[in-house]
């Protein structure tokens, strides 16, 4: 890796650090805001988790170098994300099942 490449990497890491700090500040701010969704905190949950997902993407893509990683790593993660989605969806199936009984 050339010195120029390294300088570019370092500048990028600094930029991502600032973005993550801004994201953290936004998450905390959003938790105090009223989103007025049927008297629930669904709006705040949506905003909070969206910001967390963006922050997670920034860490994975830049610090973990996923944006320049090999195909095999992407495939492993794609499979993992699929099963994670399934795992997180199970509680919703439970809810739907309960609703069908009423």
């Amino acid at each position: 890796m050339s010195a120029k490449d390294m300088a570019h990497h370092i500048a990028n890491y600094r930029k991502i650090f600032v973005y993550l700090l801004i994201g953290t500040a936004l998450t905390v701010t959003a938790s105090y805001m009223e989103f007025n969704v049927q008297n629930s905190i669904a709006g705040a949950v949506f905003v909070g988790l969206t910001i967390a997902a963006i922050k997670g993407y920034l860490v994975a893509a830049n610090f973990m170098h996923l944006n320049s990683e090999k195909k095999i790593i992407h495939w492993i993660l794609l499979l993992t994300v699929f099963f994670l989605g399934l795992l997180l969806f199970i509680p919703l199936l439970w809810d739907l099942n309960l609703m069908s009984h009423y």
């Binding site: 905390v28 938790s31 988790l49 967390a52 860490v59 973990m64 790593i73 993660l77 499979l79 993992t80």
Partner: protein, 205 residues
């Protein structure tokens, strides 16, 4: 016998072996935390009030008090991720002095995180909010406790590379650089998990 492909890239995978290994390990870690996140969703959607009200009332007032500490800890962990990746960059530029500074800073950040967590735990337990108090507290201690164990595990490995493990740099610098990349991937994952734990446990209640 020499272990193959710890520096050289394998032709079939396109990566060196330990990188493939750490990503498979991280995939299993995603499922481990994913199972607990799934339990969180199930218990939260099923609860009439969140966080539930137990013997000592609701945790809400204590949670609001601890938001600044948790925010501070989030910043500390993000900073540790930056110093971790900078430690790897230092090795790439063959600057061992800077590597020691960055890795040492990462270890200090991890220690600060655990100290803040200790005070947070002590305060909650002192007020009677133990894991058996309600389902929120059970999830809180399980998720943050498991995450804390990952921090301790990471610190042991980082401490090894800061101390005796650094000798490898003299004879096999590329292999040592790869080792730091691998432990870095684990460390960033621990940071990533916290990025999700912070809003769901402290903010969105």
């Amino acid at each position: 016998m020499e272990i193959p492909y710890n520096v050289q890239v394998r032709e079939d995978t396109g990566v060196y072996n330990s990188k493939l290994g750490i990503w498979l390990f991280l995939a299993s870690e995603v499922m481990l935390f994913g199972g607990l996140f799934s339990a969180y969703i199930l218990l939260r959607t099923g609860a009439p009030v969140w966080p539930p009200i137990g013997e000592h009332g609701s945790i809400m007032h204590l949670l609001k008090e601890t938001i600044p500490h948790a925010t501070f800890n989030t910043v500390v962990l993000i900073a540790s991720s930056v110093t971790m990746v900078m430690a790897w960059v230092s090795l790439k530029t063959k600057d061992l002095g800077k590597f020691r500074i960055y890795l040492g800073t990462t270890l200090i950040c991890a220690l600060v995180f655990l100290i803040v967590k200790y005070f947070e735990y002590s305060h909650k337990i002192h007020e009677g909010f133990v894991p058996s108090h309600d389902t929120y507290m059970a999830l809180y201690f399980t998720l943050t406790g498991l995450h804390g164990l990952h921090i301790i595990g990471g610190m042991i490995v980082l401490g090894y590379f800061f101390g005796p493990g650094i000798k490898m740099w003299d004879n096999e610098p590329e292999r040592f650089t790869n080792r730091i990349e691998i432990v870095g991937l684990y460390w960033h994952f621990v940071d990533l998990v916290w990025i999700f734990l912070f809003p769901i446990l402290y903010l969105l209640n």
